[in-house]
Amino acid sequence: MNDVLIFAESQNGVLKKTTFEVVTFGRKIADAVGGQCHALVLGTVNNPGDLGKYGAHAIHHADNKGYDSFDGRDFSAALSIAAEKLGASTIVVPHSANGRTILGRLAIRLNAGSVSGANGIKTADSGLSFTKGVFSGKAKASLQLLSEKKVISLMGNSIPVEEIGSNVKVQSIELPAPQNRVLVVEKQTVEGTVPLPEAELVVSAGRGMKGPENWNIIEELANSLGATTACSRPVADTGWRPHHEHVGQTGVAIRPNLYIAIGISGAIQHLAGVNNSKVMVVINKDPEAPFFKAADYGVCADLFDVVPRLTEAINKFRAAQN
């Protein structure tokens, strides 16, 4: 009963990057407790066998179209039934919009202790414990689960994906048919860019941009880096940018490797959503902007002057690398 089951989440048939992180994390737990790491794939998904490379010992696929639209009730039922069949006592899901919808349901179904948004694991003689951010990024907590069964959601970009496994054959698994009580009528997502919570590089801009018509310089910088664009709350509230780009306490919380904040003063509510970024660069013409205190690198200058030159410098660097 030391086995681990992970939920291999996909989007439009493609396994998500966070899923590979979850497999690697699940494998590490399995290795720590001497068990196997199983992956459960639900619905129409391309190349589920890729999960082996990142650490799954076994891959189980319930190829039922009923799972192509998301209902947390069906997904948590599938995971808990599969866990029982496979003898897994720990379940790991991504801390995505859907993963978070599943986690609490699993805790109840399995009478399990849960850690929501874990970002690391610690092994000690007393057992495993998990770390997570609390108080909107202003503190950290270390939690131990007392229950026999454990459910964990893993925060995106918390651990690097590792190729610690090998090719594994995909097996099919019989699960009760999903009921689809929640009917998905429409899905509007941006195509062609990495969604913000999964992005490793983020270029974000605020009111200092003066208007939506000036965003081309932000997009050009993001393109040069292969980064995803984001914005501060006032920018989303005034409709300069779409709501889903808003990062901060009331928007999306992110933890990219690089966060470049342009023309954002750095109010505490904004920092709450981004202060887990590994490296922060702040570009602001106001030397008193509070964001400089939180930043790793700062450039105090007019953004309209400096951003195009940063784009140029990055393009030059990329060209030299190739």
Partner: protein, 246 residues
Amino acid sequence: MKILVCISRTPETTAKISFSADGKSFDGSGVSFIMNPYDEWYALVRAVELKEKHGGTVTVIHVGTAESDTVIRKALAIGADDAVRIDAEARDAFFVANQIGHFAKDQAFDAILLGKETIDYNGNEVGAMVAELLDLPYISYASSLQVDDGTATIKRDIEGGVEVVKVSGAFVLSAAKGLAEQRIPNMRGIMMAKRKPLQVLDPIDVDQQVTVEGFSLPDEKSAVKMVDPENMDELVRLLHEEAKVI
């Protein structure tokens, strides 16, 4: 519609965070507490709007001690009709959800609303747990909710966009920004809130599943390194060679 709104009490958004000497609990001394903003601004206000449109009642439920009564009175002042307080420390999500599930199971609520997360422990767990306890559909991160003839149409935030879903019958929903606009209670609401019923109930027993080993504050950030605006090649070099992020 008969609506239940779950409200939580949290330190205010700009509170300085500190912990007890053993690092195992939050030190609330000198901190002012508020209703969790997602519960108040979005879940509660949308519930009150739905009541104003369709008729019905809005009940708020809170798990906490008598210290929370000011937060509960505020919810009544904003427009809830009555309140229930489960008289216990809100130990963790599993405990809170079981209290709410136990209260709600025979009450036939049409909708149970709560904020997408609390701003202290950031769990986003209670909604899903309550939904599972009551075997109801759960829709998370809702930024829009319309109800017509027993069918709810909900927009929910997903990675990089939105999803529109429909659900018939009772449901549990977690509220994100956009679901409603914050309402400031007026004098009439505040006066009426004093006379609205607040029922205090004993908690049920729930197993403890999680223990906190310790809280800690993030490591001090080293001072910002300022880069000459005339030399963006230097910034690129630092990001590549020193920070190793590009």
